[in-house]
Every structure is written in C-alpha cells, then in structure tokens.
C-alpha cells in the first residue's frame, strides 16, 4: 500500500517501547508531514547519537564522552556510589537532584528465569571499584522485587570487608500515596519500617 521506505520506517518505529503498529503508522505519517521541522532533525539526531553515544567504561552510563560527565565531574562526591539496575534508573535519580555522588549501572539483576549470573553483571568490577576508589558508602538503589533485593543482598555480601557502609533505598508509602489504595505487602513493609516523628 505504501512505499517500502515508509513500511520500513513504520516497522522500526513499531519496535520502540510504547508503540504498536497503529501508533507507529501515526508517528510515521506525522514525521512525513513535518519533514523539515521534525523528520530531518530527528534523523540527524539519531545518526549523531548512534555515532557518538557510548557506554561509560567506569560506571556504565550513556554519554558522548568516556568517562561520562558524571564520572568526570569534580564537584560530585567521589566517595558515595549509587548502584542502579539500568540507565533509566540513573536518569530518574538524577532528575531528583537529591544525590550528588557517583553511579554504577549493573545492566540487570540476578535472574533465575533469564539465567543472569553475577559474572553477567560484572559484580567483580563493582567490588574492585569500591576498593580502588575509596568508596565510603554504597547505596543500593534496586527495585523492591525478589530479583532486585536478591541482587542487593548478593552485592552486600560481595562488599563485606570493603569498609564501605552499605545502604539501600527505603520501602514503604509513596509520597502522595493513599493508604487505602496501597497493596497489603507495601503497607505491611511500611509499618515495619516506621520511625519516630
């Protein structure tokens, strides 16, 4: 029905997260209608990103330079390290502006189902980094799931003896959360982790 070039574009767009065939068709049509304002700049931006952006060899972040801007920033606390599952989590923490230390991106969590092992996550590399860089606190910011927390405990074991304080993010009531709508497990975890006012 349409030109093979457009079909190919729609097929590729449909493979993006959150887009299905129907939304990919709409996106493709929109791009074609706004060729100069959107399609060409997008194609250039994609080409440039493909050319320049790479994984930081120190922390696993994505940046156009290696080491990345966070690893090179002298204003950041060099002794605090936050361990996250993927770059999306790093970006989420950066958006908060609440953490001024450095990061370590694992690229996944230990998973029995997917056969992800400590070697796949390069946990030896993390332990080496903690010891080599004189890290005094490691914040494990992994998902509050069985796989996430199994990985957190494994990392804590690996770092025993490193001298660094090992902490993790709190579990409980989200800000703006309505107690009535929370699931029983989260509410029980929050109750157990209560603290003095």
């Amino acid at each position: 029905m349409s030109a093979p070039e457009i079909d190919r574009m729609m097929q590729l767009l449909a493979r993006l997260p959150g887009l299905g065939p129907r939304s990919a068709r709409r996106a493709a049509l929109h791009l074609m209608k706004r060729r100069d304002a959107l399609l060409r700049p997008l194609a250039e931006a994609l080409g440039e990103a493909a050319e320049k952006v790479a994984t930081c060899s120190v922390c696993g972040n994505l940046d156009a330079q290696d080491p990345c801007a966070i690893c090179r920033d002298p204003k950041r606390e060099a002794t605090s390290l936050c361990v996250v599952e993927d770059v999306g989590d790093l970006w989420a923490l950066e958006r908060t502006g609440a953490f001024a230390g450095k990061y370590h991106v694992l690229g996944g969590t230990l998973s029995a189902m997917d056969g992800v092992t400590p070697e796949d996550l390069g946990l030896d590399r993390l332990a080496d980094r903690v010891r080599r860089d004189g890290i005094t606190e490691v914040i494990i910011a992994l998902n509050a799931t069985v796989e996430g927390q199994t990985t957190a405990h494994f990392i804590a074991d690996q770092l025993t003896g490193s001298g660094a304080r090992i902490t993790r993010l709190a579990h409980g009531v989200p800000v703006g959360g309505d107690l009535d709508y929370l699931d029983d497990g989260t509410l029980t975890a929050a109750l157990r982790a209560r603290r003095d006012v």
Binding site: P17, L110, A112, Q149, D183, T188, A189, R192
Partner: protein, 244 residues
C-alpha cells in the same frame, strides 16, 4: 475458555510496557502461564511466592491466555525483602519449581507442599531448612524420580540406613555401603524420621537432592539447576557458621 483456581506465583517476566507473563503453580492445574495487564498496578501480588486467586481466560485452551489475579495474602517476598536467607529460600523454591515442572500437568501434592513450605517461613531456619530438603525430595517424587529410602537396596534391612546410591536413588545400609562410601551420597537421618536435622545434615540433604535434580530432571531438560538454589545453599552454610 475460563477457569478460576488458587495459585502460587513462581515467576514474572515483563512483557512490553505494562504487561507481564506470569507463571503460577495452580492448585488443580499445575504450572500454568498467562499474560497480565497493568503489572505495576499489581505491585507485590506478582512477586514469587504470593498466593493468588487466578482467573484465566483464552479463546482456545492452547493459547497463552490472560490472567486476572487477586492476592489472597500479602506477598511473603515483599515482607522479607530485608531477610536475605528467607528471600533466598523463596527465590530457590519458586525458581526450581518453575524450571522443573512441565506446564499444565496437575501436581496438587506439590502445591500443598509448597504452600506449607511458605507457611513455615516465619519459623527459624532450623525448622524450614530441613523442610525445604523434604520438599525437594517430594518434588523429585512428583516428577517420577522418587527416592526409595525405606530399606537397603542391597540387604533389604531397614535399620542403619546411611547412604543413597547415586545411580538408583535407593537407600543403602552403612555396612553394605561401606566399601563404596566414596561414591555414595550421604543419607541424612532426618529424611528417615530420625532427628530434626542439623545444618550438616541439611547440607548433606541438599547435596543428595541436588544430585538427582541435576542428573534426572535438569539434564533431561537441557538446562542447569537454577542458580538461586546454589545461592541459598551458600547463604545457609554462612548463616549457620559461627562468626570467627
């Protein structure tokens, strides 16, 4: 097609943006998978070990189908996120079940045993660790590889049983097994109703069940024993070792 059954969540694999494929050990239908919508909305209800009421719907029975899940109790995993040892138990229990069981084959005794296993999580490890070994023995039995621990395979006596043949899975008495002790697997006394099971016996038991899980179950499936089981054993050994 539609049915409703109670089930224990074994694994959840994210699928697309807000969906996931959930594997359940159902009470009457065995291991069964299905798609769920709104993964994040379900929260802890799709974490391994959670007891849920599941309604499965599909146009044809052979399709993956969709699940509507309702947690019947707070997820034990969510309550034990800080407890590495018990979390390791849940991870191993669910991973081994998910990897070993064929899909859609009823295993009600295993469902009952798994539910009972999750119910003793509040007890000290001295209670649930031997129970976990018994659960693995039960799993082997459910899969058709039951160990014969009633009498000695060589002499027929039922006293002084101390070993298990690594080839047949049958018990062997101390006297009959002595010449082959290097090759025999140790039979922990608590598996034949003697004592409660010390750590050493639990580790012997896990070696015993691990041998048969690997040799007769996972070898045939062309996959390794889930790493979560090995991590549980390491953690159990460390937890019971007095600090220097």
């Amino acid at each position: 097609m539609e049915w409703t059954d109670d089930g224990i969540v074994l694994a959840t694999r994210p699928y697309g943006e807000g969906k996931a494929v959930v594997s359940l050990l159902t009470q009457n239908g065995g291991r069964h998978s299905g798609l769920i919508h709104g993964r994040s909305r379900l929260g802890g209800a799709v974490e391994p070990g959670t007891l849920v009421r599941a309604t499965w719907r599909a146009r044809l029975s052979e399709q993956l189908g969709t699940f509507a899940l309702e947690a019947l109790a707070p997820s034990p995993a969510v309550l034990l996120l800080d407890d590495a040892l018990r979390l390791g138990l849940i991870a191993s229990l669910c991973a081994v079940t998910d990897a070993a069981l064929p899909e859609r084959e009823p295993h009600k005794p295993l469902f009952d045993a798994t539910q009972a296993m999750l119910a003793v999580l509040d007890a000290p490890p001295e209670v649930w660790a031997p129970a976990y070994v018994r659960w693995e023995v039960g799993l082997l039995g459910e899969l058709g590889f039951g160990l014969d621990l009633d009498r000695c395979a060589a002499t027929g006596v039922n006293d002084g049983l101390a070993y298990v043949s690594p080839r047949t899975g049958r018990a062997v008495s101390a006297s009959a097994g002595e010449p082959y002790r290097e090759r025999m697997l140790v039979l922990p006394p608590f598996l034949i109703g003697q004592g409660l099971g010390s750590l050493a016996e639990v580790l012997d038991g896990l070696t015993l069940t691990g041998h048969f899980l690997e040799r007769v179950v996972f070898h045939a499936l062309h996959k390794p024993v889930p790493a979560a089981r090995e991590r549980l054993i390491t953690r159990l050994a460390a937890a019971f070792t007095p600090a220097a």
